[in-house]
């Protein structure tokens, strides 16, 4: 195909504590694509993110992010992990979290980005504007002065999204932002994320259990199951034939009249993955 890639994987194999997680993954993700990462628990979705962030290395194969080997502290990636240290007792303004994530100014020779700012910050205006813009983009301009511990699940996810966006990244890695949200909130958040993907042109990978809230916005799906990885457009990957091949057992993909997808079988013949 050619052209620039955001992520390029060539026969990547990954092990965790010497146990095979998945292998033979070959795919390209192009700039500005919105990609869902789907698969059962423990299939290695978060491991994929950790590899892209340079926190875990492939045991074989070649993986590149923006044409280079993944490295820790890559300012071009904004990351929202699945678990957070925050809880109800975190009495701190949301605005502060977003501002703390602001990566700072260029410094030194060339155009090196400073990944973290030591000491007090003096160019407060740039930081404040960037935080305000990020909060605006995620549709939460009025949440800035609220305490983190007082937010609902959906509001909190918007703040995390703003935190990831404030450094103006070229790629977003969102690990299960939709868990604990009801269907309506999920759809709203997906709309927000999709808006950001389009307006900022940022490549976005989103780990989810249910593909339905975002099925209309997706460019690609990465389906990880059974130690294997299938990548392609939703129509291409989410077919009975392709998933049966992936799982090695018969899997049926059902469509309803509104375009929703139900996947039957696959996980020991009892799961309803994606339903």
């Amino acid at each position: 195909m050619g052209g620039p890639t955001s992520i390029s994987a060539e026969r990547v194999e990954v092990r965790y504590r010497n146990k095979l997680v998945w292998k033979d993954a070959t795919f390209d993700i192009r700039p500005g694509e919105f990609v869902a990462v789907i698969g059962p628990n423990g299939a290695g979705k978060t491991t994929l993110f950790r590899m892209l962030l340079g926190l875990h290395w492939p045991s074989s194969g070649a993986l590149t992010v923006f044409g280079a080997r993944p490295r820790r502290g890559n300012y071009r990636i904004g990351y929202v992990p699945q678990r957070h240290t925050l809880d109800k007792e975190t009495h701190l303004e949301c605005d502060k979290l977003v501002r703390l994530a602001y990566p700072g100014t260029r410094w030194g020779p060339g155009k090196r980005w400073r990944p973290l700012q030591w000491g007090p910050r003096f160019n407060l205006a740039a930081e404040r504007d960037a935080a305000a813009q990020a909060l605006e983009d995620v549709g939460a301009p009025d949440l800035g002065t609220k305490a983190l511990g007082a937010l609902s699940g959906g509001e909190l996810q918007r703040i995390f999204l703003a935190e990831a966006l404030v450094g103006n990244p070229d790629m977003l890695l969102l690990d299960e932002p939709l868990s604990n949200l009801d269907l309506r909130r999920s759809r709203e958040l997906v709309e927000t994320i999709h808006g950001v993907v389009r307006s900022r042109g940022v490549t976005t990978l989103l780990v989810a259990h249910d593909i339905n809230p975002m099925i209309k916005c997706l460019n690609k799906v990465i389906y990880i199951a059974n130690g294997k990885v299938a990548v392609g457009t939703p129509d291409d990957v989410l077919t009975s034939a392709r998933l049966s091949e992936l799982y090695g057992v018969p899997v049926e993909v059902l469509h309803d009249s509104r375009g929703n997808i139900v996947i039957v079988g696959g996980e020991d013949d009892r799961g309803e993955e994606g339903a």
């Binding site: 502290g73 992990p81 925050l86 007792e89 979290l97 703390l100 994530a101 973290l116 000491g119 935190e163």
Partner: protein, 496 residues
């Protein structure tokens, strides 16, 4: 102070001469200076302790410091050096195990118990066992030398400089460890730096408040602060304020009553914490949700409130003047309640009625702002602060009652007298602070009413609340005029 036994200060009723007198004693100067430095340090670092949820870890660090101090006593050096070495070593160990490790209760508790046991062994090998154990466990603020103050000062400066350097990544990694890791922040280094900073702060704080009470100075002021504000800078300021005022009040009251300073410091912080928790939950309840009432009702309540408050202030000034005259005429009579009641009965009557009227006025202010809050949300905070002030008045009254009954009991030589005095004095102190908070709330509310009704007298009166007697009077006039005129039309509204 180790068990009292020193009571050389000739107290007078003049606060200024008392403070000048205190300042003239070198050990007292040292105690106040060291106490202030340590309170500032503890207030700032405590904020990070609370955000990182390493409260128990900091408690445990204090306990390992006990064995360090005991070891230092055994080999004959200043306990603070032993404290520093042991807490820094344990802190480094905790940091290497990771931030998540420092919230493992069982492991920390096990090490903590062992450290206390070790300290016990060291001290029993030393001859002046009981005395040293007492001062390490409960603090010995009056035993701090001038050289130690200088050492504390420079080390604290160094620690705060380090904290200034790392506070951004530290705060961020406390809030979002996984993202911090992905961003390439050196988590281990940050952890290590913070644990060392914490170890130094704890080692110094132990000198004042002791190993067993360290929690109150290191953690509680920040816990109070984060309940009052969610802005980090304000939280640090409030935390420092709470710690410093508690240490000052504790030292002052301790010298006055000749009981341990540690108790008063811990006691004041405890009562403040309880109040903030209590008032904080009040804030969530229906009490502040506003009541449906016509706006005129609210203004009428506020008018009555300011009138009653003015009368209360007049009575207060008259009472205070009468009391001062009575005390000046018979300086010795202050400690004899019988004589005091006889000579200054009018003064006491005036002051008591001033207090009752003040409470009634606060209640009316509260109800007025609450009614106003249905019209505009901006009156919720004044209502809340007024409620805090009401609590302050209640505490002052309760504390005064306890104190006076203590004095009365002392006159008839009952053993319980000091206990009543002990609890009374900090309560009065705290109540006074909270009453000022209430006053500020009333001033802010009157200012906002002045803006809403475009009434200059209200705004002037709000500013004049620095002199409550004048301020209440002027706001009363303002509320009367506001009631006659009604609210100003909103400025952004359409013109017809």
């Amino acid at each position: 102070m180790s068990g009292g036994g020193w009571s050389g200060i000739p107290w007078s009723w003049n606060l200024f001469t008392d403070i000048r007198l205190l300042w003239s004693y070198e050990f007292m100067r040292n105690a106040i200076e060291a106490g202030t430095i340590i309170a500032i340090l503890a207030g700032i670092i405590g904020y990070f302790v609370v955000l990182r949820r390493s409260a128990f870890a900091s408690h445990a660090l204090g306990h390992t410091g006990f064995s360090g101090a005991a070891a230092a006593v055994l080999v004959g050096v200043q306990p603070v050096y032993g404290l520093l070495i042991f807490t820094m070593a344990t802190g480094s160990g905790m940091a290497v195990l990771g931030n998540r490790a420092s919230s493992r209760d069982v492991e920390i508790g096990t090490v903590l118990a062992f450290a206390l046991g070790l300290g016990l062994l060291f001290l029993s090998l030393y001859r002046g066992y009981a005395q040293e154990a007492y001062s390490i466990l409960f603090g010995e603020v009056l035993g701090i030398s001038t050289a130690q103050v200088a050492f504390t000062f420079w080390s604290s400066l160094l620690v705060l400089a380090l904290l200034t350097l790392i506070y951004r990544p530290l705060l961020f990694s406390s809030l979002d460890e996984d993202v911090a890791e992905a961003k390439g922040m050196p988590l281990l280094l940050l952890n290590l730096a913070f644990m060392l900073v914490l170890a130094v702060a704890i080692s110094f704080a132990v000198q004042i408040i002791g190993v067993l009470l360290i929690f109150a100075l290191m953690v509680t002021p920040a816990a109070i602060a984060v309940r009052l504000t969610s802005r980090s800078l304000w939280a640090v300021i409030v935390s420092v304020f709470v710690a410093v005022t508690a240490v000052w009040a504790g030292l002052f009251v301790a010298l006055w009553t000749n009981y341990p300073a540690s108790f008063f410091i811990v006691g004041i912080i405890f009562v403040e914490y309880v109040c903030v928790r209590g008032v904080g939950s009040l804030r969530e309840t229906a009490l502040l949700q506003g009541v449906e009432a016509p706006e005129g009702d609210g203004v009428r309540s506020l008018r009555n409130a300011s009138l009653i408050a003015s009368v209360s202030q007049v009575l207060f000034v008259v009472g205070a003047a009468l009391l001062t005259l009575a005390l000046l005429a018979h300086p010795g009579g202050a400690w004899d309640p019988g004589q005091l009641y006889a000579r200054a009965s009018w003064a006491i009557l005036a002051l008591a009625s001033a207090g009752i009227l003040g409470a009634a006025a606060s209640l009316l202010y509260f109800s007025g702002f609450r009614k106003m809050s249905t019209a505009s949300r901006e009156f919720i905070n004044p209502a809340f602060l007024t409620l805090v002030g009401l609590l302050g008045i209640a505490l002052t009254a309760g504390g005064l009652g306890l104190f006076l009954s203590g004095v009365a009991l002392a006159a008839s030589a009952y053993g319980l007298a000091p206990v009543a005095e002990l609890f009374g004095v900090p309560l009065v102190f705290l109540g006074a602070i909270l009453s000022v908070v209430g006053l500020v709330g009333q001033a802010v509310g009157s200012w906002r009413m002045g803006l809403r009704y475009q009434e200059r007298a209200l705004r002037t009166g709000a500013v004049l609340m620095v002199l409550p007697l004048v301020g209440y009077g002027v706001t009363y006039l303002g509320y009367r005029r506001a009631l006659a005129r009604g609210p100003a039309p909103p400025q952004s509204g359409p013109l017809e």
